[in-house]
């Protein structure tokens, strides 16, 4: 399923300034961000971005403030005009659309959730959720029915006649999410959607999103500055720094093989037990070989923390990883699990003490 690409971003450049298009060539020839600013007073926003975003999956784009992540997501529905490059969705270049086509595209194909919610303060919850449908020109009844369904789905039944200001931040973002889902668009853009929320509510909203996603299978592009959030949500993660992509891959790729010191410094604090999957740390066994009799089977793709919890619960120190059909693939030991869960520095120390 992840093989199908929903959004192809190709050689995307964004330079802020009056003569951005002319500056693209200078950047292509290797001019740096600081040189561009000093010599031409133009700000390099995005440089040569290439991403394939899989259909029906969650693509996270992570970066600190100023990395260009919000600029990038706004190119996908063209809230920001590019300096060069293309974004292909269903073989159509979003960046080449006419105004009418773009409006149509935004109404039916793509929707967005905003960091500070972007709700209409003078409209009630139900009218906010119905906004996309209203813009499409649906009848009043279709608007209310459609909106009501999503209000119930995000758990806001009973609040439909409240104004946004009367709701807490978490509830307001549920309204934002319901509004984005109500238009039934295939692509959902989420710009730091949960960053303005308290940590507990944020985790809560992440669960709401993951829950909905198991059913809806939307193509989600999620922007965040929070690595834990990125690792929890992202099937694919792209890390952006100073307008350039520094690494792309799965959560596991990024934690286990950080591309440079910048990323290593990020992933050092990560809870690895929640990211790394059992097959990464198992000792492979030859086909046909049977695991030890007291060993418990654990499904491929399980995260280390979950495997450790299960083994502790069963009171065993050995387990084996099985594939989809129940065939054993490799063995696990509690010791190996623990070693993989601690950070590389600690792991080195453990290994050294053993010698």
């Amino acid at each position: 399923m992840a093989d199908e690409i929903a959004i192809k971003i190709r050689n995307l450049y964004k330079i802020f300034g009056p003569e951005d298009k002319a500056m693209v060539d200078l950047v292509r020839q290797g001019m740096s961000k600081s040189e561009l600013l000093a010599e031409h007073s133009h700000v390099l926003g995005l440089k040569d971005i290439n991403i394939d975003i899989p259909a029906s999956g969650i693509q996270v784009v992570m970066g600190l403030s100023g990395s260009g992540k919000s600029t990038l997501i706004r190119h996908i529905n063209r809230l920001i005009e590019p300096s060069a490059g293309e974004i292909l969705i269903d073989d159509e270049d979003v960046l080449a659309m006419t105004d009418t086509r773009l409006r149509d595209f935004r109404r039916h194909k793509i929707s967005m959730v905003f960091q500070r919610f972007g709700l209409l303060p003078h409209k009630t919850v139900i009218d906010n959720v119905a906004y996309g449908l209203e813009v499409m020109g649906k009848s009043r009844k279709e608007q209310r029915d459609g909106a009501m369904r999503w209000i119930e789905r995000v758990g806001l039944k009973g609040y439909e006649d409240n104004y946004p200001a009367q709701l807490s931040g978490g509830m307001q973002q549920r309204v934002g999410l319901a509004r984005a889902l109500a238009t039934d668009a295939d692509i959902l853009l989420m710009d730091e959607a949960f960053s303005a929320l308290d940590p507990l509510i944020r985790t809560d909203m992440q669960s709401v999103l993951l829950d909905l996603q198991t059913e809806l299978h939307k193509t989600i592009v999620f922007i965040t500055h929070d690595l834990d959030e990125a690792l929890r949500l992202g099937e694919q993660i792209a890390i952006l720094r100073a307008g350039e992509i520094v690494q792309q891959g799965t959560a596991q790729d990024i934690v286990l093989r950080p591309a440079d010191d910048y990323i290593s410094s990020f992933v050092r604090e990560v809870n690895r037990g929640r990211v790394i999957q059992v097959e990464t740390v198992m000792e492979p066994i030859a086909p046909g070989e049977a695991p030890a009799p007291e060993s418990v089977p654990i499904q491929r793709g399980t995260i280390l923390e979950e495997a450790a919890r299960r083994m502790t619960g069963d009171g065993v120190t050995k387990a084996h990883v099985v594939n989809g059909t129940g065939m054993p693939m490799g063995t696990l030991t509690m010791r190996g699990l623990m070693a993989a869960m601690v950070t590389p520095i600690l792991k080195d120390a453990l290994d050294a003490s053993e010698l």
């Binding site: 972007g118 003078h122 104004y163």
Partner: protein, 295 residues
């Protein structure tokens, strides 16, 4: 070396010639087009006269009830409504009912005209910095030019009467609504606007669903100011024959009738307060959605 001690000004003869030439051109212009321009304003005059007659010829107690009713609907405030009732009764008792109705009718028409003309200008201004750069200085001139000065060309063009009076008042009172419509739309939260764009709103949908509703409190403040400025012009307009509360004031100034001046002045103040309080209370009621239930 005269120019060191005295400003090297144009010769008096040249200046007089210049003024006379310009005045002559303008005079021939107004002779040629005065009637046409008057004809253009004819329907407006008819409407104004009709409205004035309506206010004066309807029995006073019906008008009183209607005004008190409108104030109640707009403000939902007992204090403002009772105050309005008392003020109108006093105006009637002191013999100023008819003049008050005349003033009321011209204020209502001027405010409506200012809104109808001013709001679209404000909207256009909010969409382009260039337009804003052109219109802003014009508004500055409209607001700071002493009103007696633009009385002159208007009287030369249209003579004295209701229409020139109306024009003078509208020119003076319109800038706030233009400025505050522009400001209100420009102050609309960028993220909300971005959200409207992200869902594919058309320009018209954005204007009517997002920009105008969110700018409404600011626009209401502009309308409020427009009304106040229109009232301030009532006395000046009476100089060119607009009847109403301004004329007795003018008469009082020239004849030193202290009491008459104060009474009519107070009647203007009373109308101003009624308009101000009820339009502000209405503006506040429109914003009830901003009251948060949560901290």
């Amino acid at each position: 070396m005269d120019w060191l001690t005295e400003f090297p000004q144009l010769a008096g003869r040249d200046l007089r010639l210049m003024s006379r030439t310009i005045d002559q051109y303008y005079r021939s212009f107004s002779r040629a087009y005065g009637d046409t321009i008057e004809a253009i304003f004819r329907p407006l005059l008819e409407f104004l006269l009709w409205f004035e007659r309506l206010l004066i010829h309807t029995p006073w107690w019906i008008i009183l009830l209607v005004i008190v009713g409108i104030v109640w609907l707009a403000s939902r405030s007992k204090a403002i409504t009772v105050g309005t009732f008392v003020a109108l009764i006093l105006i009637g008792v002191f013999g100023m009912w008819e003049d008050t109705m005349r003033t009321l009718s011209i204020i209502v028409v001027c405010t409506l005209m200012s809104i109808i003309i001013g709001m679209p200008i404000g909207i256009i201004m909010s969409r382009s910095n260039k337009v804003q750069a052109v219109i802003n200085p014009i508004l500055d001139v409209m607001q700071t030019m002493p009103s007696f000065v633009y009385l002159i060309p208007i009287v030369m063009l249209l003579g004295i009467g209701l229409i020139p009076g109306l024009l003078v008042v509208v020119i003076y009172a319109m800038p706030p609504i233009i400025r505050l419509t522009n400001l209100g739309i420009r102050l609309v939260d960028k993220e909300v606007l971005e959200a409207a764009n992200a869902f594919g709103s058309s320009g018209w949908q954005k204007l009517t669903q997002v920009q105008l509703p969110l700018a409404l409190p600011t626009i209401m403040a502009g309308i409020n100011q427009t009304i106040m400025m229109a009232l301030a012009m009532v006395v000046v307009a009476s100089l060119i024959g607009v009847r109403g509360l301004g004329q007795p004031v003018l008469q009082a100034i020239t004849n030193q009738y202290f009491t008459q001046g104060v009474l009519n002045g107070l009647a203007i103040v009373a109308i101003a307060i009624i308009f101000d309080r009820s339009s502000q209370a209405y503006g506040k009621r429109l914003q009830r959605h901003r009251e948060a239930a949560h901290g």
